[in-house]
C-alpha cells in the first residue's frame, strides 16, 4: 500500500514537471520573424536568356552564380533600408515619406497583439500572412492548398486595378487595393475584409505596398549583384567582409529603390491616380449592343474565344502560364512585361523539360509547384476583378497584368461596351445556344 502511494506521488510530480518543461519550450520557441531571401529568383536569374528566343532562359546557360557573401550583403542592405518584419523601416530619401505612413506600417507589422489602448497590432500576420507569407512571397502555410495560389507581391505586379490605361500597366492605387480588400476576389480564396475597421484596412494596404517595394528592390539587387564583378565600383554587393561602406554605394542602392518607388508614388508623390472612363453610351446594354459584343467575341479583333472557349466556359487555351509561374519554369516574364498577351506566347515550351528546372532547383526550397492558368469561365457569374460594367470594361481594355489576358486598344468605344454587355449577359444565356458567328476563324494579328 505504501509503495502504491509513493508511485502515485511520483506520477503527479512527473506530470507537473512535464507541464513546466512544455510551457518553457513553448515560450522559447518564439524566434523573431525574418524576411525570407528570394532564393527562387536567384535560381531563375542565374539562367541566361536564350539568344534565339529572348523570352526563354536556357537551362544550360548557368555561368554566373551568386556567392553566399553576396546574398548576405543583399539581406544586410535590405534590412538597413526596410528593417525586419517586427521593426519595419521606410527607406529615407527615396520619396516614400508622403506615400507610406510609418505609424500604419508599425500597426500592421509585428506579432499579433493589442497595445495599451487595446488597438490591434500585427494585422498583416493575423489576416494575411498565413497565405501571403511573412515576406509577402505568397508561400504562407496555407498557400499550397489553394488554387489559384496566393499572390507573391515581390514581383510588384497586381491584377485588379483602375490605374492601367492605354495599353500600359501601372502600379495599383491605394484605392484599388482597398477595393480588393473590401470585396475579396470572388472565385478565389481571397476573402472580403469588410468587417474590419477602415483604419485596419488602410494599415494593411500600406504594409502590402511596403512588402511589394521591398520585394522588387530585392530582385533589382539580385540582378545588380549578378551583373557586377569584383573589380566593379560597388563592393557593397560583391563582398561585405572587405567592402568599405562608401557613399556612392548608398547612392547606388537609393537610386535602385527610387526607381521602384517612383512607379508607385507617381509624379506628385501621392500615388497613381485611377484612370478616367467616359460614361457609356445610353444604349450600351441594348440587345443590339449585346449582339455587337457577341460577334466580336468570336472574331479576330477581340479574339476572346481563343482562350475563353467556344462557349465561354474557359476551355479555349489551357496551357498558358502567369508571370509568377513562368519564373518557376525558368522562363523570363520580364521580356513580355509591357505588352500583355505575349507572355502567353511560349507554345513551343515542352512542359516536361521546364518542370525539370523547377524540380531541380526550386522544389527543394519550397517554391509552389507550377500550374497552368485557366482562362475564366465567363458563365459562372464570378468576375474576379468586380462585376460592375466599368470593371469588365477595364479588364477588356487594359488586360490583367501578369496574366495572358491582353488589353485591347483596337476596339472602338461602342465595340468595347458591346463586349461588356455580352460578357455580363453570359451567365444568363443558355450555353447550348448555337453560335451564329463563324467558328475556327483564328486570324491572329
Amino acid at each position: 500500500m505504501k509503495q502504491f502511494h509513493n508511485n502515485r506521488h511520483q506520477g503527479v510530480r512527473i506530470a507537473s514537471i512535464a507541464v513546466l518543461v512544455c510551457s518553457v519550450l513553448l515560450t522559447a520557441c518564439s524566434d523573431p520573424a525574418y524576411f525570407q531571401f528570394n532564393e527562387a529568383y536567384v535560381q531563375a536569374a542565374q539562367l541566361k536568356p536564350d539568344v534565339a528566343k529572348p523570352q526563354m532562359r536556357k537551362l544550360e546557360n548557368r555561368d554566373v552564380l551568386l556567392i553566399e557573401s553576396q546574398k548576405e550583403n543583399i539581406s544586410t542592405i535590405l534590412e538597413g533600408a526596410f528593417g525586419t518584419p517586427d521593426n519595419p523601416r521606410i527607406p529615407g530619401g527615396v520619396g516614400l515619406g508622403d506615400f507610406l505612413s510609418m505609424s500604419k506600417l508599425q500597426q500592421a507589422a509585428g506579432p499579433v497583439e493589442r497595445d495599451e489602448a487595446h488597438i490591434p497590432r500585427g494585422l498583416y500576420r493575423q489576416h494575411c500572412a498565413h497565405c501571403h507569407g511573412v515576406t509577402g512571397d505568397g508561400q504562407g502555410p496555407t498557400a499550397s492548398f489553394l488554387n489559384p495560389y496566393p499572390r507573391d507581391y515581390r514581383l510588384g505586379q497586381f491584377k485588379f486595378k483602375m490605374t492601367d490605361a492605354g495599353g500600359t500597366f501601372k502600379k495599383p492605387s491605394k484605392e484599388d487595393l482597398k477595393t480588393t480588400l473590401l470585396q475579396g476576389i470572388s472565385g478565389t480564396a481571397m476573402p472580403s475584409f469588410r468587417v474590419l475597421a477602415g483604419t485596419d484596412i488602410n494599415q494593411m494596404i500600406d504594409y502590402v505596398i511596403y512588402l511589394a517595394i521591398r520585394g522588387e528592390v530585392e530582385r533589382s539587387l539580385i540582378n545588380a549583384a549578378l551583373e557586377i564583378t569584383t573589380s566593379d565600383e560597388h563592393p557593397l554587393l560583391v563582398d561585405f567582409n572587405n567592402g568599405v561602406k562608401k557613399a556612392d554605394d548608398l547612392a547606388f542602392v537609393r537610386e535602385m529603390i527610387s526607381s521602384v518607388v517612383i512607379q508607385w508614388v507617381g509624379p506628385d508623390k501621392t500615388g497613381n491616380a485611377q484612370r478616367t472612363i467616359a460614361k457609356a453610351p445610353d444604349n450600351w446594354n441594348s440587345p443590339a449592343s449585346v449582339k455587337i459584343g457577341r460577334t466580336l467575341f468570336f472574331q479576330g479583333k477581340a479574339n476572346c474565344f481563343s482562350c475563353h472557349g467556344q462557349t465561354a466556359i474557359g476551355d479555349g487555351q489551357k496551357n498558358l502560364y502567369d508571370n509568377w509561374t513562368l519564373e518557376l519554369l525558368g522562363l523570363d516574364p520580364s521580356s513580355s512585361d509591357t505588352s500583355a498577351g505575349d507572355a502567353a506566347d511560349v507554345e513551343d515550351i515542352s512542359l516536361a523539360s521546364q518542370l525539370y528546372f523547377y524540380n531541380e532547383h526550386l522544389a527543394g526550397i519550397g517554391a509552389l509547384k507550377p500550374r497552368a492558368i485557366s482562362p475564366r469561365n465567363l458563365r459562372l457569374g464570378n468576375f474576379r476583378g468586380g462585376r460592375r460594367p466599368i470593371d469588365i470594361y477595364q479588364r477588356i481594355t487594359s488586360g490583367i497584368q501578369g496574366t495572358p489576358m491582353p488589353g485591347n486598344t483596337k476596339l472602338t468605344e461602342a465595340e468595347t461596351w458591346g463586349l461588356v454587355a455580352y460578357v455580363l449577359s453570359l451567365p444568363y444565356e443558355a450555353s447550348s445556344r448555337p453560335q451564329s458567328a463563324p467558328t475556327f476563324q483564328r486570324d491572329r494579328n
Binding site: P191, R388, L424
Partner: protein, 266 residues
C-alpha cells in the same frame, strides 16, 4: 490523500454553478459572455425555451454531481474496511430513472412544438396578396465568405438585375424577411446571434429562413459549422436599417453595381 479526490470532484458543481451565476449578473465581468442582445421578434420564445432547459438540466446537474461527490466521500477506501458486497440492482429504480427522463423529453418535444413550427414550417405569406413571400435575397456560403444576392427590382433571384455583395447583409427593420440560403461547397451554418437564427447550410439543399428585426444597428453574421481552415474568418456584417434607409441603400447599391463611368464628368 483520502477524501481529497471527493472534495476535488465537489468543485465541479460548485464552479459550474458559480460560472453561470457570474455570467447572469448584469454588468458583471462576464456580462457580454452570456446571451447576446436579442433584436428579433421571435427571439423571446427561443430564449425562454433555452432558459427553461438550462434550469431543468441545471437542477439535474447539481443533483448528480452532488451524488457523485457523496458516494466518493462515503465509500472512501481509507475509512471503509468492509469487503465489497455484490448487488444485482433494482428493477423498480431502473424503471423510474428511465420513465422520468423519457417523460421529460416528451414534454420538451411537445412544449417547443409551436416555436419550431414558427421558425421552420410556417412559411410567411404576403399579407397584401396572400401568396408566399418571395425571398429578399439568396445567401450563398462559400469557403470562406457569405455572398449576398438580392433579388433586385423584379424580386426574382437569378436575373441580371440582382445586386451582389459579399459579407454585407442589409435588411429593413420591422418587416418579416425571407432569405434563401445555400452553399457552394461544404457544410456551413448561417448564424445571426442577435437574431436567434442558426441554420445549417447543406450542399444540394435549398432552404429558407425568416425573421423580423425590431431594432436598427450593426450586428454579426458568423459561420457556426466548422467548414475548413478559414472557418474563423467567415464573418459578415448584418445591418438593420429603417425602411427609408434601406431603400436608399438599395438604390445606391444598384447604382454602384451599374456604374458605367469612372472619374468622368457626366
Amino acid at each position: 490523500m483520502g477524501r481529497f479526490w471527493s472534495l476535488l470532484f465537489l468543485l465541479v458543481p460548485i464552479l459550474g454553478v458559480a460560472v453561470y451565476v457570474f455570467a447572469a449578473i448584469p454588468g458583471g465581468i462576464f456580462a457580454n459572455h452570456w446571451l447576446p442582445e436579442d433584436i428579433s421578434q421571435h427571439g423571446a420564445v427561443v430564449d425562454k425555451l433555452f432558459m427553461f432547459i438550462l434550469y431543468l438540466t441545471g437542477v439535474v446537474f447539481i443533483v448528480t454531481s452532488f451524488l457523485l461527490f457523496w458516494f466518493m466521500w462515503k465509500y472512501d477506501t481509507d475509512r471503509n474496511t468492509e469487503p465489497v458486497k455484490y448487488l444485482h440492482g433494482s428493477h423498480t429504480l431502473e424503471i423510474i430513472w428511465s420513465i422520468i427522463p423519457a417523460a421529460t423529453l416528451l414534454f420538451i418535444a411537445i412544449f417547443q412544438m409551436d416555436a419550431w413550427a414558427d421558425a421552420r414550417m410556417k412559411y410567411p405569406t404576403d399579407k397584401a396578396t396572400g401568396f408566399k413571400k418571395p425571398p429578399l435575397l439568396l445567401v450563398t456560403g462559400r469557403q470562406f465568405e457569405w455572398r449576398m444576392q438580392y433579388a433586385g427590382e423584379d424580386k426574382i433571384i437569378g436575373t441580371p438585375d440582382d445586386v451582389h455583395l459579399v459579407n454585407d447583409l442589409h435588411i429593413p427593420v420591422n418587416e418579416e424577411i425571407v432569405i434563401r440560403i445555400q452553399t457552394q461547397d461544404v457544410l456551413h451554418s448561417f448564424f445571426l446571434p442577435n437574431m436567434r437564427i442558426k441554420q445549417d447550410v447543406v450542399p444540394g439543399m435549398k432552404q429558407h429562413i425568416w425573421f423580423e428585426a425590431k431594432k436598427t444597428g450593426t450586428y454579426d453574421i458568423v459561420c457556426a459549422e466548422l467548414c475548413g481552415w478559414g472557418h474563423y474568418k467567415m464573418r459578415g456584417r448584418l445591418i438593420v436599417q429603417s425602411e427609408d434607409d434601406f431603400r436608399e441603400w438599395m438604390a445606391s447599391a444598384i447604382a454602384e453595381q451599374n456604374k458605367t463611368s469612372l472619374n468622368a464628368n457626366e
